[in-house]
């Protein structure tokens, strides 16, 4: 480790911060819940989750909470995920893959527009995280 100057200290701080913001709580713009029951994982939910983590990291998103849950009951339409924007009814998406998950993150989570082509419907059971 080379010795830091004052400018490099500030850079180190910015770089290290992205990791820590997740720990500090605060308000979340959205919660994205990937259903990862046995059925979901078998159908490819892991790829959906990995894609979402990658997007959150790439875009340095600090207010999107990624979480996972078990089987949503519609095993035939897995992988599924639920997007909850604070103050709005949750939206369930079905038959996902990594690419679709990235589109939903961009358009719905960040853009506010529900991606109707992939959506199953509005309204869902809520999970507490």
């Amino acid at each position: 480790m080379p010795k830091l100057t004052i400018e490099e200290l500030a850079k180190t701080r910015d770089r290290a911060r992205t990791k820590l913001v997740m720990r500090e709580g605060g308000e979340f713009r959205a919660k994205v819940n990937v259903h990862m029951g046995t059925c979901g994982i078998a159908a490819g939910a892991r790829a959906v989750m990995t894609a979402l983590i990658d997007e959150v990291e790439r875009r340095s998103l600090r207010d999107v909470l990624l979480t996972s849950s078990g089987c949503a009951g519609l095993c035939s339409q897995e992988p599924m995920m639920t997007v909850e924007i604070s103050g709005q009814a949750p939206v369930k998406y079905v038959n996902l893959n990594a690419q679709k998950a990235r589109e939903i993150l961009e358009n719905h989570v960040l853009g506010g527009a529900i991606v109707r082509g992939y959506a199953l419907g509005i309204g869902s059971e809520k999970t507490d995280v």
Partner: protein, 610 residues
């Protein structure tokens, strides 16, 4: 081992408490179990496991906080972990049964910030509590660590630093409450013989029974202390610093060593810090655990390699300290406050607290209290808020009797003063002192004479023996107190105790002796009736002093409920119980040695204490 990678984003952060309390409750085993289960479910790229410093809620260890979401799990066992990982981490369902349920409530509280213990706390010295890995300097830097140091070294003059600290109103957190800015000014303006060297010392010789504030800070956030010391060094013009820490705090020693090494690697300590041209380095001095070495002149002697004995002041260490050079000694918590003051400004800091006492204070809550642990609260908070709102009240529905603040040097504060707003002045006015922050809570089952005897036996044991009032006087006081608790006291003893206490206070050489009589003086003031009950009626109202107890067996209870079970007689080591199985038993008072075993073993409540 799953190592947190600075470059990588994780979906979930598992903050495992690795303070001394949780470590002794096997939190490292919890951590290993988490790592194993996380790997088993293939979550190692989504979930990171971070050991943190003391969370504060030691009563409930081992503790795990899941972020984001701030979900608080407590009293975990290794067998809980597979279920927790599968339910919460994999399926997203937090596990209710592992959450905290406040006393006398039924519903668990999932979120840390909703738990009453944490709600009223304000964190400055403990600002990184539970959020960073104390062994990873980058996590400290991420939370604005070393920012104040960079500011102090690049754009502030020593005078400006001192002015900021003075403006903050920060006072020494070690007990006496000397204004920190003024102390720095005195050391800065002192002339050093022998080439002008000056020194900085961090006093981590925390010795009060039941106090663990400094230990926790050194373990949880060592960089905050180092940064404070570098800023102080620039302010007073010091080139070398020492962290004096007890050898019996192995985790603190280890984490400070790691932190010093990392700070040097990053150019935040050593020669030419941050390219500013300022040189300063710190070394650790381990103390052997003598209470008197918390006194600054004894501490200096100990660092110099001499016997840890105090000397008369003046000269104060600010004029003549380590090796005769001007030396600035501040307590661990004081140093940890400094970076925040420089970063956010003295005016911000002085906005918190009371007229004379600014900022926050860390207290360790121990004794007869539901939520044992470490709390940081704004000055001016009342004892009632600390004991009932944060501390969760007294266990078993017992009544609060008193709280000992300031450890063996302090005094007790009673129910009548429970609404006292806490600051340096109010505690002194009540006959106690702020001290370093130990709070021992006592309930109705506590005998105040016994408490005074306990604290005096501590100071008597720790007295270095250099001055006569402390060496002989505390011994004489202890003998009297022991006599009283054994039922051999005379009415003159109370007068004699008071006289001795006042003489020792006035004539002892150092703070240890000067304050040693405080527990006796305050209990004499507030609980004189208990002393008199011991002396005049040969009774201990709380039934603690066993020599004064009379054990009697209720023949009716013994026969009706216990059917004369004979357990008491079989356990009595002095054949002082008459009767046999099936008969009512009785205590033979002339043979009874008052050991209390019969009372402890009787499950029918037939043995009474009078």
């Amino acid at each position: 081992m799953i190592k947190a990678d600075t470059q990588k984003t994780y979906r979930l952060h598992l903050m495992v408490c690795a303070g001394t309390g949780c470590v002794s409750n096997h939190s490292y085993e919890i951590k290993s179990a988490l790592e194993r289960e996380v790997r088993k479910h293939g979550l190692e790229n989504e979930v990171t496991i971070v050991p943190t410093g003391c969370n504060g809620f030691c009563e409930r260890g081992p503790i795990l906080v899941v972020q984001p979401g701030n979900i608080f799990y407590q009293q975990l066992a290794v067998k809980d972990i597979p279920h927790l990982v599968e339910e919460h981490l994999l399926k997203g369902r937090p596990v209710t049964k592992l959450m905290y349920v406040p006393p006398e409530q039924k519903t668990p509280v999932p979120v840390l910030s909703d738990i009453p213990f944490f709600k009223k706390q304000v964190l400055i010295a403990l600002r990184n509590r539970g959020l960073i890995n104390p062994e990873d300097i980058e996590e400290y830097i991420a939370r604005d660590g070393y920012k104040a140091q960079a500011k102090a070294l690049s754009s502030l003059t020593p005078e400006a630093i001192i002015a900021e600290v003075t403006r903050s109103g920060l006072r020494g957190r070690g007990g006496a409450g000397f204004p920190t800015g003024l102390k720095w000014q005195l050391v800065r303006s002192a002339q050093s013989a022998n080439g002008g060297a000056k020194y900085i010392v961090c006093n981590g010789d925390e010795g009060d029974p039941g106090a663990f504030m400094d230990r926790s800070i050194l373990e949880a956030d060592p960089h905050s202390v180092i940064e404070g010391m570098v800023i102080g060094a620039k302010a007073i013009g010091a080139t070398a610093g020492f962290v004096y820490v007890r050898n019996e705090y192995p985790l603190a020693v280890e984490r400070v060593e790691t932190a010093l090494k990392q700070a040097r690697e990053y150019g935040l300590l050593g020669a030419d810090i941050l390219g500013s041209g300022f040189d300063f380095d710190i070394q650790i001095k381990r103390g052997a655990g003598a209470f008197v070495c918390g006194e600054e002149t004894a501490l200096i002697a100990s660092i110099e390699g001499r016997l840890g004995e105090p000397r008369p002041r003046p000269p104060y260490p600010a004029q003549s300290g380590l090796w005769g050079r001007p030396t600035c000694i501040n307590n661990v918590e004081t140093w940890a406050n400094v970076p925040v003051i420089i970063d956010r400004g003295g005016a911000w800091f002085s906005g918190i607290g009371t007229k004379t006492s600014k900022g926050t204070k860390v207290f360790s809550l121990v004794g007869k209290i539901n939520n044992t642990g470490l709390v940081e609260v704004p000055m001016g908070i009342t004892l009632r808020e600390i004991i009932y709102d944060i501390g969760g009240g007294i266990p078993g529905g017992k009544a609060f009797k008193a709280v000992q603040t300031g450890g063996p040097s302090g005094g007790c504060i009673t129910k009548a003063q429970i609404d006292l707003p806490i600051d340096y002045e109010s505690l002194t006015a009540a006959g106690s002192m702020m001290g370093s922050g130990g709070m021992v809570i006592m309930d109705e089952d506590t005998c105040m004479v016994d408490v005074a005897r306990y604290f005096l036996s501590f100071t008597q044991d720790e007295s270095c023996g250099k001055c006569t009032p402390c060496r002989e006087g505390t011994k004489a006081m202890l003998d009297i107190l022991t006599r009283i608790t054994e039922g051999k006291g005379t009415p003159d003893d109370i007068v004699l105790l008071g006289d001795l206490a006042r003489v020792i206070k006035d004539t002892a050489l150092c703070g240890l002796g000067k304050t040693a009589p405080n527990p006796v003086l305050t209990t004499l003031d507030y609980f004189r009736d208990e002393y008199e009950a011991h002396i005049r009626h040969r009774r201990c109202p709380a039934h603690v002093c066993r020599q004064l107890n009379v054990y009697k067996i209720d023949a009716h209870n013994c026969l009706e409920k216990g059917k004369g079970c004979d357990v008491c007689r079989r356990n009595c080591s002095s054949d002082a119980i008459s009767g046999s199985k099936g008969q009512a038993h009785a205590v033979l008072q002339d043979k009874c040695t008052k050991c209390g075993v019969c009372h402890d073993v009787c499950v029918f409540g037939a043995v009474r204490v009078e």
